[in-house]
C-alpha cells in the first residue's frame, strides 16, 4: 500500500544527509513536505531545486541543509531570499555550500539523471564565469566537427517530492498547468513521494492516459494533503498566496523573526492540518480569497475499440 501520511512518508524516505529535490516551478511547491522535514529535524540535506523559493529559504533557516544545488535564487516578483543570503553571506545558521547552474543546466542535470546518461549536452555557459566556479560544468567537442557543447552531469536525488492535483492509490499521477521539471526530477530519483490534492479512482486516471505525468511504477508513497502547496498553488484548486510571498520578505529579513515564525507555524503545530487550522483562524476567508473560478477543459474522446 503506497498511501501514507506525510509523517510516515518523510520518516520512511527522507534521511539525514540525503539529496532531496522538491520541485515545482512557482506552482505545486510542496510546503507541507518541507514543514514535516523541518519538524522531523532532518540535517545535512543536499537540497536541489531550480528556484529555491520560500520553501528552501525556510528549510535552510531551520538548519536542515548543508548544501544547495540551484539555478535561481529569489522570491519571484518580490526580491531576495533573505535566509539563504544569510547562510551564504554569513554562515547563519550554518555555512551553506552552493552548487550553481543556469535553469537549463538544472533541467539538463535532471534529464541526464532520469535518462541514465553520463552527461547531458546544452549550448550554454560559453564566455561566462559560471564554469570557473562550478567545475562540474564541462565542454565536449562534437565528433561531427559542428562545434563544442557544454555538458552537465546527472543529478539523481535520493528522494524527489512532487505535488500534483490528483493520483490514484497506485501513484499514477496527473497534473495540469505549469509542468516544470517534475517528471524529470521524479524519474531521476531513487525514491518518489507524490503529494496530491485528491486521491481519485483509477478510472479517472484511465479516462485520460496522456494526462498522466508520473507512473505509479516509480512512486513509493502517495500522500493525500489538500492545500499542501500553500502558499504556492495547485492550478484550478487554489491560487498562489501572493500576500504571503510579500509577507515573507518582511518575516525573513531578520533571523529572530524567521525563527519566531518557524516556531509558531512549523514547530508549533503537529502537522499540516494544524498549519491549515492556524491559517484559517488567522484569516477565516482565506480559501474563499484563493479560490479560482471554473474553467474546464473540453473533454476529448479516446474511443472504445473492441
Amino acid at each position: 500500500m503506497k498511501i501514507a501520511t506525510m509523517r510516515e512518508a518523510i520518516a520512511r524516505y527522507v534521511h539525514d544527509g540525503d539529496t532531496i529535490a522538491i520541485e515545482g516551478f512557482t506552482a505545486f511547491i510542496c510546503f507541507a513536505a518541507a514543514h514535516e522535514i523541518i519538524r522531523q529535524g532532518r540535517r545535512d540535506l543536499i537540497l536541489c531545486r531550480m528556484t529555491p523559493d520560500l520553501i528552501y529559504d525556510q528549510m535552510i533557516a531551520a538548519g536542515c541543509a548543508r548544501k544547495l544545488v540551484f539555478s535561481y535564487l529569489g522570491n519571484p516578483g518580490v526580491g531576495p531570499l533573505h535566509c539563504i543570503r544569510r547562510a551564504v553571506e554569513k554562515g547563519i545558521p550554518r555555512p551553506l555550500e552552493i552548487e550553481e547552474y543556469s535553469h537549463f543546466g538544472m533541467v539538463a542535470r535532471y534529464m541526464s539523471g532520469a535518462a541514465r546518461l553520463p552527461f547531458f549536452p546544452l549550448r550554454s555557459y560559453m564566455g561566462t564565469d559560471q564554469p570557473k566556479v562550478n567545475p562540474r560544468i564541462q565542454f565536449v567537442d562534437s565528433p561531427y566537427g559542428n562545434g563544442q557543447v557544454a555538458v552537465v552531469p546527472p543529478l539523481n536525488p535520493d528522494v524527489t517530492i512532487i505535488h500534483a492535483q490528483r493520483a490514484d492509490a497506485s501513484g499514477n499521477t496527473q497534473m495540469w498547468g505549469l509542468l516544470g521539471v517534475q517528471k524529470e526530477a521524479a524519474f531521476a530519483a531513487r525514491q518518489v513521494i507524490v503529494v496530491v490534492e485528491e486521491i481519485v479512482d483509477e478510472d479517472i486516471i484511465r479516462s485520460d492516459p496522456n494526462r498522466t505525468v508520473i507512473p505509479g511504477l516509480i512512486v513509493d508513497a502517495v500522500v493525500h494533503q489538500p492545500y499542501g502547496a500553500h502558499p504556492s498553488y495547485a492550478q484550478g484548486y487554489y491560487d498562489r498566496d501572493n500576500r504571503f510571498y510579500l509577507e515573507w520578505d518582511q518575516i525573513s529579513r531578520e533571523e529572530a523573526t524567521t525563527l519566531a515564525w518557524l516556531d509558531e507555524w512549523v514547530y508549533g503545530v503537529d502537522d499540516w492540518s494544524g498549519y491549515l487550522a492556524k491559517l484559517e483562524k488567522r484569516e477565516p476567508g482565506i480559501w474563499k480569497r484563493l479560490a479560482p473560478g471554473e474553467a474546464w477543459s473540453q473533454p476529448v474522446n479516446y474511443g472504445v475499440y473492441g
Binding site: 539555478s71 543556469s102 535553469h103 549550448r123 559560471q130
Partner: protein, 254 residues
C-alpha cells in the same frame, strides 16, 4: 504629454522597439507591460512566451510572477521546462528577450550572480536562472534597468550572461552563439544601442529633460555617444491610457 513617470517612458520605449517582432520571451514587471503595450500598438502579432513554459497567455490580472496561474488559464500552450529550453529557446524560436541586470559592462555582458567575490560574496544575487541561455540563444536581447553607476560598471564582478564579450567582431560566432546579443538598453534616463563593429554600448537617446552629463555621471566608463543623438519620444496619450487603464490599473509597477 509630459506627465509620465520614469517607468512609463521605459515601458513605451521598450514597446516601440518591438515593432515588427514576432516572438518575445517576457519576464514580469516592466517587460510584461511593455510587451502587452506593443501587442496593442506596434506589434499586434507579437507572441508572448513566458519562461515558465506558457504561450499565448491571456492573463485576467497582472501577474506577480512568471509562474502566476492566471498566465496558464486560457493560454494556447503550456509545456514542461525541457521543451521550453530545448525546443523553443535553444531551438532558435525566440526573437527578442528581455533581461534585467545587477551589473552591465560596456559590451553588454551581464552580472546577476554576485557582488564581491564569488566565494565570499558581499551581496549574493539571484544567479542566472534562464538568463545565460537567453543571452546566448535569443536572436536579440533587450535590457531594461535603472541607470546607476554601480550598475554600469567598468568590470563585472562576475559574468553570468554573455553580451558582446570583449567586443571583438565575430567573438560570439566563434563561441557558437546563435543570437546577436544585446541590441538595446532602456533606462529611466536614456536609451543605448550597441556599435555593430565594436560591440560597445553607445548612447542613442536621452529622455526629455535629461542631459548627457547626467547620463555620463551614472556610467563608469567614458561613454560613446551616437553621431545623431536623439531625444527620446515621450509616451503618447494613447500609450499612457493603455498602460494606466488596461495594463496596470492598480499602478503596481508605476
Amino acid at each position: 504629454m509630459t506627465n509620465y513617470t520614469p517607468s512609463e517612458i521605459m515601458i513605451t520605449s521598450s514597446a516601440r522597439a518591438l515593432a515588427g517582432e514576432r516572438v518575445v520571451f517576457v519576464g514580469v514587471g516592466l517587460p510584461n507591460i511593455a510587451c502587452n503595450l506593443a501587442q496593442r500598438t506596434v506589434a499586434p502579432d507579437l507572441e508572448l512566451v513566458y519562461e515558465s513554459g506558457v504561450f499565448g497567455a491571456r492573463p485576467a490580472r497582472l501577474p506577480l510572477s512568471i509562474g502566476d496561474p492566471t498566465l496558464i488559464s486560457r493560454a494556447t500552450l503550456a509545456c514542461p521546462m525541457p521543451d521550453l529550453f530545448m525546443y523553443y529557446l535553444q531551438g532558435g524560436r525566440i526573437e527578442v528577450a528581455f533581461l534585467g541586470v545587477a551589473q552591465i559592462d560596456r559590451f553588454g555582458n551581464i552580472n546577476t550572480t554576485v557582488i564581491g567575490d564569488y566565494q565570499r560574496p558581499k551581496v549574493r544575487l539571484p544567479g542566472s536562472g534562464g538568463a545565460c541561455e537567453i543571452a546566448i540563444h535569443a536572436k536579440k536581447v533587450f535590457i531594461i534597468t535603472h541607470l546607476a553607476r554601480r550598475t554600469f560598471v567598468e568590470q563585472l564582478h562576475f559574468c553570468t550572461s554573455p553580451g558582446h564579450l570583449s567586443g571583438q567582431p565575430g567573438e560570439r560566432a566563434a563561441w557558437d552563439m546563435p543570437g546577436t546579443g544585446p541590441q538595446l538598453v532602456v533606462t529611466d534616463k536614456a536609451i543605448f544601442h550597441f556599435d555593430q563593429e565594436t560591440g560597445e554600448m553607445v548612447l542613442f537617446s536621452i529622455h526629455p529633460g535629461v542631459t548627457v552629463e547626467e547620463v555620463q555621471a551614472e556610467v563608469s566608463w567614458p561613454l560613446k555617444i551616437a553621431a545623431e543623438l536623439q531625444i527620446t519620444e515621450p509616451p503618447t496619450d494613447e500609450e499612457l491610457r493603455i498602460i494606466r487603464e488596461e495594463l496596470d490599473p492598480g499602478g503596481m509597477y508605476l
